[in-house]
Symmetry: C2
Subunit: 69 residues, 2 copies
Amino acid sequence: MSATYHVAGMTCGGCARSVEVAIKDAAPGVESVTVDLEAGTVTVSGSADDASIETAVDDAGFTYGGRAA
Amino acid sequence: MSATYHVAGMTCGGCARSVEVAIKDAAPGVESVTVDLEAGTVTVSGSADDASIETAVDDAGFTYGGRAA
């Protein structure tokens, strides 16, 4: 299972890595995290729920924008 | 009280904000956080201990490098 989310505020590879690490650390059940900087999206595979992703993104200082698709 | 720490991996304003938010959220006693992107340092005022700062920086996906001064 995977889902893609809008995440605003990521502007470089450091931002991307930050969001990736935050989601992996904070959301149980996450298997992989892929950031698309240009699209401003993050694709998460695994069994994490949307609320965990939102909390992880917000805590890392970026803006969660819900499911992209 | 304030202390300045080396933090590697911050390359843009998004990174800076991420580290700032992570430290403010994770470390009790923090009053303010100031990031110097060019120097690669973060100055924290308040009563937070070094270990809390280190954990917050690492969890945000950046590299803690100890006290700068």
